[in-house]
Subunit: 136 residues, 2 copies
DNA sequence: GATAACTTGTTAGCCGGCTAATATACGATA
DNA sequence: TATCGTATATTAGCCGGCTAACAAGTTATC
């Protein structure tokens, strides 16, 4: 059930974001970079709660699309910083527009109270499953 | 948020099911076959709400693991029926045991009322997103 | 009966998730 | 200084989702 909602949501997001030429996962990285440009990969991964190979793969897509650049950290040759290109920065507004559109659909379908409840319950469930083998 | 819960759940399921040598998605197909053996691929896909290429890929895994067999329908040469092998049938009990274990964790963490509420809200959300481009 | 439309399954290829293994680089410590 | 441990990124490869394109069988319709 849970996974069906997620799949439905991702499909919806995918359709919605294809209007600006993005894939569903890429927008979340861009959101992070719009908030704070030049973050390290490992920090982006932590923010999105994914593993480093996953963030790496997603970034390859963004680099390929010319929305983002990689640069070595000056004082640490292990890490790389991720920077928005002009193309990446200029996507901010259209993407946010699309995002609000999606959001409005959700807002229209659920009351404020329902959103609060579901958020709380989902948090509870997340900890339930995540807590089984790993402390969050 | 939603996707994090799903990911957490799938990871949990994956760990849990590796005890009987299965992957997270395979159990759902097996559940269907234990209920009713010999279903067509397209019906299994509909039951699990996935596309035909997806069910096809998942079945290849099950065939490879020797848990399931394919057979042509006698009266329709397009369709194939999926049958449990002995190995597949004999997995029923251990898998159900594992499943109940997982279920108990969820039961322990959420009250009956909470489960009802979240189910209802998730259904609502699913229809929200699914309904955007396609009637269910 | 021939052709068109629909159904079912398969192949190819992409995205987003993971683990395991590897290469480097940095840091701490003997 | 040499070494050992830790942090970061990458590669390879798997699972579960999708779309697009295709092959092949069935059904309907002319």
């Amino acid at each position: 059930m849970l996974s069906r909602v997620t799949t439905a949501f991702r499909n919806s997001l995918e359709r919605n974001m294809s209007a600006v030429g993005l894939h569903s996962g890429q927008v979340f990285i861009l959101f992070e970079l719009w908030k704070k440009d030049g973050q390290r990969q490992v920090d982006l991964a932590a923010r999105l709660a994914v593993t480093t190979p996953t963030i790496n793969k997603m970034l390859l897509g963004l680099i390929d699309a010319g929305l983002v650049d990689r640069m070595k950290l000056e004082n640490d040759n292990r890490a790389t910083r991720i920077f928005l290109t002009e193309a990446g920065a200029s996507l901010k507004e259209p993407v946010e527009t699309q995002w609000h559109e999606l959001e409005e659909n959700t807002v229209a379908g659920l009351t404020e109270a329902e959103r609060l409840i579901i958020f709380e319950l989902l948090t509870k469930m997340k900890n339930l499953y995540a807590g089984e083998s790993d402390e969050d």
